[in-house]
Symmetry: C2
Subunit: 293 residues, 2 copies
């Protein structure tokens, strides 16, 4: 299949690589990272997103934020200018669900299909093709995109209509952040109450407190390994998105708001590039203690 | 072995039953629930906690709160009055870690041993003898109590010195409450953003957001099954304990404090006896929506 891939960053580069390895013909942009590497492997290098759209049946975007997706799709020499009826746009970026529904509307007006398919699993998941992919779109459109998702991910869910993939991703980032904050509160409590946080974590793994975050991020807090992983700066962006969407929808998310403030405290302490388990340092600063070591 | 068991409530009754089934001789109080049932099975029925302590090598308490343990151990005709050197006191109630260290000190001054061993797993775990048991005490004292724990629980951890079992239990209740709150925020967000919360939950189960709470309590929120399980009123007591201990220790637990307020909102709505997954109703009230159904 002819696939255009826009956004060859930390995530996009290995994802696009899997598509190429599977024998698809890839079109990429002549700027940003690594076009030469892809050209060497036979990819078509294009001068604009419009040209990529002209040359491709499916156009995948994997860029940082909502305005980036808007610029790629609808900016000057953007994807929309190169589309013709029947093509498929797949946005795998993590962006605003409400804006996503608007983008999908405008793409459909051109006779094309749209799927939002944000991912979770980070660079490790992208390299191992083991990403969790949360998809929103019409069932037949999802079915059309699914074989491509299977080359990049392992746990693929069709959540619902357009935008619902992004809703699930926001929900995912809320739960992960708040579970990290929960473990951080428990570990700081344990340390300050004179217990060994590592043994407390062990005692908790068997019961209802158990979670992937208690396993993975709890261990990082105790071993003091705060190399990402997933950067606090990025998770902060995701919680911003959650809170601005919540405001638009009329929802109170009290612990998301507090947790966002704790991420801000970490950034103030120089921790924008810490792994998100470094959130514990904000609570440690408030309690003048350190968990584990 | 001669075992005294004080507190034959929802949890204590099946726990004491397992000890009897295993062939131990049990001494119980002649008041509260079910003394006749235990007498029929051969238990010795005593008139006071002092008499129980006189008749037993190991005295187990399983009562609601810190003042109850203090009354049982040190009140008039209490356990302390009936102890002689070499006996073992095992408190399996969920109470204040700091008070626990004081109680242990006073019991040791009588030449006896003390282990705190609060449990998690609820009535179902108590009946199935599959409780998680978090233990604090000297290694040799823990070793002495362990065979009894193995008759009541499955996942038994020696966390550390006296009081550390209670620290782990508080940490457990913090994590469970905050994980429930996290899932509730995510489900309310999903519902209000127009997605199907059940599908969103499904999408999240594969990744870093996965937890026992997402599995069990997330499902209850969607299916609207709020029969306990574990009552909001009890979890509120546990978070009160966490917050008062935190105040004494000089720690900020911001999301525990907010979550405690949301439990209070549920109680105001008549939900003291709801399962703790009913926390979602407080967030639904704030957003004028309902998750799933």
């Amino acid at each position: 299949m002819n696939i255009g891939f826009i956004g060859l960053g930390i995530m996009g580069r290995p994802m696009a690589g899997h598509l190429l390895t599977a024998g698809h013909r890839l079109a990429v942009l002549n700027r940003g990272s690594h076009p030469a590497e892809f050209a060497e492997r036979g990819a078509l290098v294009c001068g604009s997103a419009r040209e990529i759209a002209e040359q491709s049946d499916v156009i995948i975007s994997m860029v940082p934020d909502t305005p980036d997706v808007e610029a790629v799709l609808f900016g000057a020499a953007g994807v929309a200018e190169g589309l013709s009826a029947g093509k498929l746009v797949v946005d795998m970026s993590s962006i605003d669900p409400i804006a996503t529904r608007n983008f999908a509307e405008r793409i459909r007006a051109l006779g094309c299909d749209y799927v939002d398919a944000p991912v979770s699993g980070g660079e490790v998941g992208a390299r191992a093709a083991s990403l969790t992919i949360m998809c929103g779109g019409e069932p037949e459109v999802f079915a059309r995109a699914r074989p491509l998702f299977e080359l990049m991910g392992k746990y693929i869910t069709h959540v619902g209509g357009v935008g619902d993939g992004q809703v699930a991703k926001v929900a995912n980032q809320i739960v992960v952040a708040l579970n990290i904050e929960a473990v951080a509160e428990a570990m700081v409590f344990a340390a300050k109450a004179g217990a060994n946080p590592g043994k407390v974590r062990e005692a908790l793994l068997g019961g209802f407190a158990s979670s992937r975050v208690l396993e993975v991020h709890g261990e990082r807090m105790i071993k003091r390994t705060f190399e990402p992983g997933f950067r606090i700066g990025l998770h902060q962006k995701d919680l911003n998105l959650a809170l601005s969407s919540a405001r638009a929808l009329g929802i109170a998310l009290p612990n998301t708001a507090t947790t966002q403030q704790l991420f801000s405290a970490c950034v103030a302490m120089g921790g924008k590039a810490w792994d998100h388990s470094g959130l514990v340092k904000a609570l440690e600063a408030l309690a003048a203690c350190e968990v584990g070591g």
